[in-house]
């Protein structure tokens, strides 16, 4: 299979602009500039590319919305605040192929009519931030960034924002608050960032992996891209395989590969016997069926969410109550504290699950957790609170007897 996202990452000095150029880099940019911005957007729409950060929103549509806002300036923000447990895909592009991302952001900026782009990178990615900053300098020297790019009317600049340790900043409205120097608590939508984003201006936020598809789509056309993988969710995807699996790692594969194939053919099998899998990190619901096809629709149909495709494998020796406790511990730690339901809900769920993990739960608390999950999904402002109970509630649904053994 042809690689789109990771074709350069194993090359020596992959992050250097010369290596990127030698591999055909920065050829999509002049092509994009030769089109009207609307033409670029229509190519992206044709590709049927959807966001790879978790929400799977159609990229062409998002750009279209942003462009159609009359307010100026507009911004493109690349969300590189990768933090979902089990996710380690964007860092590979940031570190080993930063020019792929930069070229994509310039094209995106041109398409939506922005003259400034930002890359918000989580603070723990020291090497990645350095690689991206170096790449920006190189791109400037070569005239891919700056005024009148490639002698066109288009001028564009990119700035790196370094995160400083908060998972919630991966949430788009929170990321904007963070950039604005506020406490990064999410906002209710609407309005969406495409209408009112960074500094209240129209802002398109795209994940690193999402953007990394763009140069290929421009070079080879949206139709070419939409022909790859599953017709519902075309393209390749970076699968992050981790947990109790023999060969954890990052695998670029077409969407639609089954869970079993991924684990057996690429991960060399489960370390132990398969109990359950989280297909989209700790925000997703547990799956047990290895036949589930890993694309957005099929995983949703199976009752979960592909999200960032961070596949965490759990074996039979593991207590599912303990898994639930661990994930809720994570969300409690990362809740911003703004919504009462999430702040108090995660805290209480953590308390209950910690007691349960020690065998000290009360019988009624199993159903209380289910109800809490329902209300958190219904009323929390952002994805964190809405998804925080996905692991415990799906664990109760699938493995209720394990919970019942932990309560009195």
């Amino acid at each position: 299979m042809e690689k789109i996202l990771t074709k350069n990452i194993d090359k020596p000095k992959a992050s250097d602009i010369e290596v990127y150029l030698a591999g055909g880099g920065y050829q999509a940019l002049p092509k994009a500039l030769s089109l009207k911005p609307e033409g670029v957007i229509s190519e992206v729409k044709k590709s049927k590319l959807v966001g790879r950060g978790g929400a799977a929103f159609p990229v062409g549509l998002k750009w279209d919305f942003t462009r159609k806002e009359s307010t100026q300036p507009r911004f493109i923000v690349c969300n590189a605040d990768e933090g979902e447990p089990g996710t380690f895909k964007d860092r590979v592009i940031l570190k080993n192929d930063p020019h792929l991302l930069i070229e994509a952001i310039i094209i995106a900026g041109y398409a939506i009519g922005a003259d400034k782009g930002f890359i918000y990178i989580r603070g723990e990615y020291y090497d990645e931030i350095e690689a991206v900053n170096n790449a920006i300098q190189q791109a400037k020297q070569k005239g891919y960034l700056g005024s009148n790019i490639l002698s066109s009317d288009f001028s564009f600049d990119i700035q790196v924002y370094r995160g400083v340790g908060a998972y919630i900043c991966g949430e788009e409205t929170s990321l904007i608050q963070s950039m604005e120097g506020n406490r990064p608590c999410p906002d209710d939508r609407p309005p969406f960032p495409t209408q009112s984003g960074f500094m209240d201006k129209p802002t398109a936020l795209n994940n690193v992996e999402t953007l990394a598809n763009i140069p290929s789509i421009i070079n080879r056309g949206g139709d070419w891209y939409s022909g790859i993988g599953s017709p519902d969710s075309p393209g390749t995807k970076l699968f992050c395989l981790s947990g109790q699996v023999n060969k954890p790692g990052l695998y670029e594969l077409p969407l639609g590969i089954t869970l079993g194939e991924l684990i057996e053919n690429y991960g060399s099998g489960v370390n132990g016997k398969l109990k359950a899998v989280l297909p989209g990190g700790v925000s997703s619901r547990l799956l047990t069926d290895p036949e589930v096809k890993l694309d957005y629709k099929d995983v949703a149909r199976a009752g979960s969410m592909l999200g960032s495709a961070s596949v965490i494998v759990i074996n039979q020796d593991t207590s599912i109550v303990d898994v639930a406790r661990n994930t809720v511990e994570f969300f409690t730690h990362e809740s911003c504290g703004k919504c009462s339901i999430c702040r108090e809900g995660t805290r209480q769920a953590r308390e209950i699950l910690t007691r349960m993990a020690n065998g000290n739960g009360s019988a009624g608390e199993i159903d209380l957790l289910l109800e809490l999950g329902e209300v958190m999904y219904d009323t929390a402002c952002c994805g964190l609170g809405q998804a925080a109970m996905n692991v415990p509630t799906s664990a109760i649904t699938l493995f209720r007897n394990e919970f019942e053994q932990k309560v009195r």
Partner: protein, 155 residues
Amino acid sequence: MSAAPWKAKVDDIITQQGRVKEVLLPCLGAIQEVSGYIPQPAISYLQECLDVPSVDIYGVITFYGMLTTKQQGKYVIRLCNSLPCHLNKSENILRVVERKLGIKAGETSPDGKFTLETVACLGLCDKAPAMMINDKSYGNLTEATTQEILAELNG
């Protein structure tokens, strides 16, 4: 009084990007990096330069895991305890580190050398269990390799 080292960094950022609230996070990140923590005079300075209430700056600092107003150890150990690392027995690694350094998660050793934190996912799940010490990552930790890494830093 000689100017604090963080001040030059802040002035740099402000000169380049302006006296706007949007530079608050970059400034705080820079101060943390230069000084190892964010001293109160730095908060006052930012309040003055950016016209942001100091309690709001404090509110931002206390939100983030990588910013602190308390002096940290020379080595900040961030040990991941999110699910992929947890499934790969990261709590055993935590126990080794705690025993070896004589401090619990969230504490700084009395000699000011180590700060130990358990943190959320570091994006090193394919190398679980994993940790970072300052800007360096360490993966596929075993009790033995953890001992070695700490011994080296203590050496």
